[in-house]
Symmetry: C3
Subunit: 308 residues, 3 copies
């Protein structure tokens, strides 16, 4: 991977992705061996929107590499409130840190920020834009459990607004994966995403009913359908209920089916599923650590190479 920053999963070739996943697997096999790897490195966490799991996962990743983190804290208590621009904020924090992680509500914010900083910057979500490390940990989890060659993946839930889903679907076109999309009609893939998938030559089919495809799936990736997408509570309940899964639903699935979810979940997956071998969503959350360790380590390597 010869990148200075990670802004979008689309900037990564199949070889880039595999390089990150390979290093993540190497790390996950013996995480303790990496503890002194980045001793003395300081990572700046710049979250302009609240985040629990992404922030904690990057925080853990840097610390398990032996480095330190500094946290901007909430926007409410920051200089941003005094009218400071994003460009100024990231340049100041660059003066403290060896790499930056940025989450921002505005699409394009991360790309813009890279025009002002020299240290590696990782996009941890920019509004309706990209969240590439989520995609990498999703791919890692699929590869570890079902492989990424000749597999059938179902992606279910809110396919219209789900940033995670669009990014994952695009990344999967790098691999020999058949993609099935399952959603209510009102939450189908946006036309532009569908167009891009077809252009890339991906094998894509859309469904409104999980039963049409469940028995074929190697992976089922479930996402949340948000209440606020619906005009009234009744319609929400009716629709959402059809896209929730429990152990009865999974009777029709392959024994080897891997069930994933980016979390947090509300009621898309019944708690009883947690006890089955299908459930890989907590493992998936855990995988954020080795994947982000791998990515940070490789970006820091590139930065060192570039400055030599």
């Amino acid at each position: 991977m010869r990148q200075d920053h990670l802004i979008s999963a689309t900037q990564l070739s199949r070889a880039d992705i595999e390089a990150v996943l390979d290093r993540a697997a190497e790390i996950d096999a013996d995480v303790g061996a990496w503890q002194g790897r980045r001793d003395g490195t300081v990572l700046g966490l710049c979250f302009f929107e609240p985040s629990t799991r992404t922030r904690m996962s990057f925080d853990t990743a840097m610390k398990r590499l032996g480095g330190r983190t500094i946290d901007m804290g909430s926007v409410e208590s920051s200089s941003v409130k005094k009218g400071e621009t994003l460009a100024d904020t990231v340049r100041v924090i660059e003066g403290y840190a060896d790499a930056l992680v940025l989450r921002h509500p505005s699409e394009g914010a991360a790309k813009m920020a890279t025009e002002f900083v020299d240290v590696p910057l990782v996009n941890a979500g920019d509004g309706a834009g990209q969240h590439p490390t989520q995609t990498l940990l999703d791919l890692y989890t699929m590869r570890e459990n079902a492989g990424l060659d000749d597999v059938t993946v179902g992606i279910m839930g809110d396919l219209k607004y789900g940033r995670t889903v669009h990014s994952l679907a695009a990344a999967l076109t790098n691999f020999d994966v058949r993609q099935h999309f399952v959603s209510p009609e009102s939450l189908q893939l946006p036309r532009s995403v569908r167009y891009d998938l077809h252009e890339s030559g991906a094998q894509v089919r859309e469904h409104t009913d999980l039963d049409e495809v469940l028995s074929d799936l190697d992976v089922l990736y479930v996402t949340r359908i948000q209440r606020e997408r619906f005009p009234d509570e009744n319609e929400y309940r009716k629709v959402a209920g059809e896209y929730q899964i429990d152990t009865d639903d999974l009777d029709a699935a392959k024994d080897s089916l891997t069930v994933m979810h980016p979390l947090p979940r509300v009621d898309e997956i019944a708690p009883e599923v947690d006890e089955t071998d299908h459930a890989k969503y907590f493992e998936q959350a855990h995988n954020g650590v080795p994947v982000r360790m791998a990515l940070l380590d490789m970006l820091l390597e590139n930065a060192e190479g570039g400055s030599q």
Copy 2:
């Protein structure tokens, strides 16, 4: 101590307690020697309620063992707001961390959480329930200053609602300690607590006036009487004033009397007392560090043993 988690002080035998206090004393004697002890360990701080001193004390404890901490941050900015269950939150953070500290407003939350995680979990307060590390540091402070054999302890203030007091009183029944409880009538020990103390064979007496017992005490443990427990301000002032101490009050005490307080205090102990040799409440707060270092170290030891 052969425990996987610490949920309640009542789960600890006298031998367990003494093992923790012994190791705390060993640590306190040369804290620098423990700096590399838990290099590479990550502790997850999950505070579902605000906390300054307990959170900072655990944070310091892990860092003085050479480990790292990751902090969930406030509930307001977390996935909890999106409807995530406690069981899911702790399982995700378990995926990042080697041990967890949990504070939660609901009684029983810590016990419940241990059903979902495999790493050691320490209860840092669950509503009206338990806060066992407070009890351990209280016992440690008593042992260092007055001993825990053949001593007379007075516990004063809000004995009705004070979680700290109930837990301490129960733990003291493991030792040869005479307990005197001093409070206004409206804030006496709950019947169930009094019953349990008598059942355990403890030597217990109750008073409304500190003067009845002060001269006999080796330790006086003062707690705060909260304004909100009283229907009107006047009644509060009248009652609270009788349970505040200053240097004049302490003239009647033994020279060796140890005065303790879980802090924060408001006006229960006059600042002039701070300058006397009686005052051990800041030392008591400090003792949270070696006691929590000892406890975390022992739980991590047990976890390693269990996984071998």
Copy 3:
């Protein structure tokens, strides 16, 4: 430097200041060499007011010395809300930490706090009072770029309310520096500050127009004029506009002019200036790290010496 605490820049002699700046320069030349310097040291961050850059800068400084930090968090979620005094809060945190950094809204708070703690304490701003590490990093940036001997410095903007400006002006009287103050009439230096500068024998002149002096300057230190200082928006705009600089304004300046700003800026300096060699304000922000590393290291050295 033989100080236990740093409360005000005025407590530092020229020799003290130079000792800190010399060590900062030594650190900045090879920051990695200092990574193990304060292994095992814990710094308590006590910010009773929000702060991004000062807090992050101290946090980074301690971590780049190999130490750890513990953060009190916001006042809203702390024991302060329960009515705890500042004296109690700092004594409790002293029980966890080897040194303290304190920001507080009340002038004199830091000085008062030193009466209660034995560990080194650094004032990181006390209301309208002092913020001495800002002054030190300003001096360091001037010395690195223009020197502190036989130089001409212009200080522009809000000279009436600017704590940073008063402290810097006082510190500059230790050096062979000519000081020019540029501001609207309504925001000129307070009479008491002007008096002190004259008493110290400083070479001081005041202006309402930057053009009168710009071509003579080696350093231009710009500060923000705050909207809330003016009765109405129109008057603010008219006045503020005259104290904003862009590249056209700088045509009249020396090629070697150093432009500084304590940040955050709003529109006092046009973004186009960032691209010029004049712009040193991001370097200035960065300099907070080596300067605070030097200061913390020296205070910790003094504390060790004192306890031996």
